[in-house]
């Protein structure tokens, strides 16, 4: 029985596990972009490590690393949650929190505030 389903609605044909994996990993992916950007800005050594493609600079490593983590996490969660029905309410709250924190961290004045600039 799907806990998120109203009483008068028929059971879904596809369990929500695949969607939960996609939603949660997207939240993590968005947070990673901002977090790595902030860390690269705060620590010159990391910024140097993120410099995958010189003309683009650290942005190339920040985004590539975030995308790799997002895709790996998506694949792992998809496999683990395949055919399962999860409590989507909790997954959504976590994904929205990750997304919200990611948005906040991406705003440069907030990042500068955290770094004490």
């Amino acid at each position: 029985m799907n806990p998120d389903l109203p009483e008068n609605q028929p059971e879904p044909e596809i369990p929500n596990g695949a969607a939960a994996a996609a939603i949660l990993s997207a939240g993590v992916g968005c947070l990673c972009v901002s977090l790595f950007g902030l860390l690269g800005d705060a620590f010159p050594t990391l910024s140097h490590l993120f410099n995958f493609y010189k003309p683009t600079g650290p942005l190339s490593g920040v985004t590539t690393t975030a995308i790799i983590i997002w895709l790996i996490l998506w694949a792992v969660l998809s496999r683990s949650w395949k055919g399962r029905s999860l409590s989507m309410g909790r997954i959504n709250i976590i994904a929205f929190l990750l997304l919200g924190v990611g948005l906040l961290l991406s705003f440069p004045p907030f990042g500068d505030l955290l770094q004490g600039k």
């Binding site: 939603i23 992916g29 968005c30 003309p55 985004t63 948005l103």
Partner: protein
Amino acid sequence: MQMSYREIITALHGIGFGGLFLLAFSGALIGIFRVCTIDTSSSPSVCERKFLRIYFITMVVFAWGTVLSGAYLVYPWYRARPPQGITDYTEYPQRSLLSSPTTAGWHNVGMEWKEHVAWFAPIAITMVAYVFIKYGSDLSRHRQVRKAAFAFTVVAFIAAGIAGTFGALINKKAPVQGGTVIKLMEETK
């Protein structure tokens, strides 16, 4: 009428990919709403669903096209370091903005924000397209999944809006210029 190679690529990034991606949002939201409706009389037909799938895939292509062309084609021209001794920053937009305290904020806030938040859009819209294609009409039975898909679509729109607005304003303050000049049309008297 002529444009430089860099101006053409910048226009392709901002207007070609980014502009079309932003324009496609209203259609995407209506598409999600229609598929999610339980009322069978107004839910889309098989043909319409197929069209919506192609629509979402196209949005994903536009979103990735925007960030990849931005990061790997336009951004290197924007952040290029001028050779020693150069004082004319026309072809060095980042330097041009940072050279004055009245324009430095366009880089320190605008570009710094844009270059990161823009990536939220392709990540979010890829997830939404996947969920939409995978679940199809069954999405109407997944209220929480629908909620998340809608919220991520809105965030993708906001992220693309921030990136697009700052991109346009920064390019107005310090345009990306240079490269081979391409004649688009012969001048007539």
